[in-house]
Symmetry: C2
Subunit: 344 residues, 2 copies
């Protein structure tokens, strides 16, 4: 399927102008560390030395996974829809952190195995009531995968702001994400599989065995979109589409944890320039996430041993993006504040 | 001098109640990682399962250092008072981050070598116009050290809130902090000395040589308050006093970078229980800071390669403290949200 073109942000003259603007602020050279990198990145994304964050939103995509029939999760599938109800009622961690840090959330039913009825604050983009069990057959058809991605793209086109955080909910989706990671990075399955919501070691071994068997069943899948359709979830495919669209529109992408990054792996295979637009919010304690980030060659902002999903890491990192933009736009310069620069 | 008594926060029954409250929230067990530790710590400090943060403030203590005569800083001494003017005008990094994250700042002249005149938003607690050069003689008298600490204690007694961040400004103060660190941790000087505001390698060697000679000159100083008076700054001594008082009043102490932590090293020698009250905001890229934190056996929240001081790391970490408190007080429980718990 055609995906929107993403243009690398590299721009030598702007990059120099950004560095000069940063170095003129009243602080020792380089002393704001990662925030300086972040200011430079957001400046390049927005093509300005005066970056700003408008109407940040976290999109929380939810879907169910047929592979839970194999016993790969510590929680029953019904927790997916129950947590959606929790999001809609404002009681989940993502509600708390998004509310605290001034970002809106949009909860998207990408393919939950539950009938929610008409709900004013749930975005219904249900492709089907959960994927099929990839231990037996492909999780979704090519057509379902395409539709999920297109829904994601359309949702982002309708967003008013210039920062999009990504979050997800779906019992079983660390299993899907581990499969995507293995196929797209060539890392051994043992490095891709983790405890998810809290599996004991024996259950992690079972999860890995399920994945090992599934890799044999679907040995032919290798193109990124084939891999996505074979192992992915509707929430993952919808995120992949949304990410591609967001970068094409030069928005800042705020990447959360293991599952969100698995969706990005697909997007980055299709269009590597998408990485220019990504801010990596945190490193999850789901063990594969660190390896995913290393594979992409990127550094996360936060390391708080989170493994909750929902976009919580993205919402928690948002104040650091504000800090980067705010120091660029409101700090005094050595000249304006009449502060002596360093000795020559 | 007598310092206010600090009571360890350990409390078995409350600790259990906090863990139960955290585990009942709608999230996989332990999945909020460091935020769960933080919620538990703040709960123990405040002796409640419903912690709250009131009127957080960052105190920015400024002082000058006689040792700058030895050429230990990349910036001239006048930058100390010029930066105070910048703080008062709202143009520095700490202004930007404190303003963004909803905390007030109080700028305290602990001993700057400059006459500011009467200024409505500068707290004048000037002990003297800078310390003496500890390469030659003790930086301050015992009486000056005591007065600085008492000012710090009194300032904290007058604070309305229950969270105190610590920040500082003082050209030359990484040299003083390195001396304190060496004397109080027994780590080799080479591990305590760093680039400060940005010294080149040759200048770092010179800084280390100045410190090596000063250690011989003041070989007798070993009690914590002697070490503080001999090598410290007025801003550092005032912070030490303020920290002791804040912990005695069961406030949360938000510890910033290298210099702030050097003040804490003194306080912790006097009253080790103070560590129960400390949240370590970040790990500075000033090389000695990581070793200080390791020496104390603590983990910082942020690692952003900051090395700016002013309390910037403390202000940047504040949203994480809010997140910890907010999830404790506003997230739904499995019962209240009717979400299934994990399979038995």
């Amino acid at each position: 399927m055609p995906t929107p073109a993403i243009i690398p942000t590299a721009h030598a003259a702007l990059s120099l102008a950004l560095s000069q603007a940063i170095d003129n602020k009243t602080k020792p050279l380089g002393s704001l560390g990662r925030l300086e990198e972040l200011a430079r990145q957001i400046g390049l994304i927005q093509a300005t030395t005066q970056p700003r964050l408008d109407a940040p939103a976290v999109l929380v995509f939810a879907g169910d996974h047929g592979v839970v029939a194999e016993g790969v999760s510590a929680y029953p599938q019904e927790v997916t829809w129950q947590m959606i109800e929790n999001f809609l009622a404002g009681g989940a961690a993502i509600n708390v952190f998004a509310n605290q840090n001034g970002c809106t959330i949009q909860v998207v039913d990408a393919g939950v195995n539950h009938d929610f009825g008409a709900r004013s604050n749930l975005v219904d983009r249900k492709v089907a009531r959960g994927t099929r069990n990839f231990a037996i057959e492909a999780a979704m058809s090519q057509d379902q995968c395409r539709r999920a991605m297109e829904h994601g793209m359309a949702l982002v086109r309708d967003l008013p702001g210039n920062v999009v955080g990504f979050g997800e909910m779906g019992i079983g989706n660390t299993t899907a994400a581990a499969a995507l990671m293995h196929k797209l990075t060539d890392l051994p399955l043992a490095e891709c599989v983790g405890a998810g919501t809290g599996l004991a070691p024996a259950a992690i071994s079972r999860k890995e065995a399920v994945l090992t068997a599934a890799m044999r069943t679907h040995a032919g899948a290798s193109a990124p979109l084939d891999v996505l359709a074979t192992f992915g979830g509707f929430e993952i495919a919808m995120m992949t589409g949304a990410m591609l669209q967001a970068a094409a529109l030069r928005k800042v992408l705020l990447i959360d944890g293991f599952i969100v990054t698995s969706a990005l792996l697909v997007a980055a295979k299709l269009q590597p320039a998408i990485l220019d637009y990504c801010v990596f919010a945190h490193c999850s304690s789901e063990q594969g996430h660190r390896r995913m980030l290393d594979h992409l060659g990127v550094r996360p902002l936060l390391q708080l041993d989170l493994r909750l999903g929902e976009g919580t890491g993205a919402a928690l990192a948002l104040p650091l993006l504000h800090a980067a933009v705010n120091f660029m736009t409101t700090m005094a310069t050595f000249d304006s504040a009449r502060v002596s620069t360093r000795a020559p």
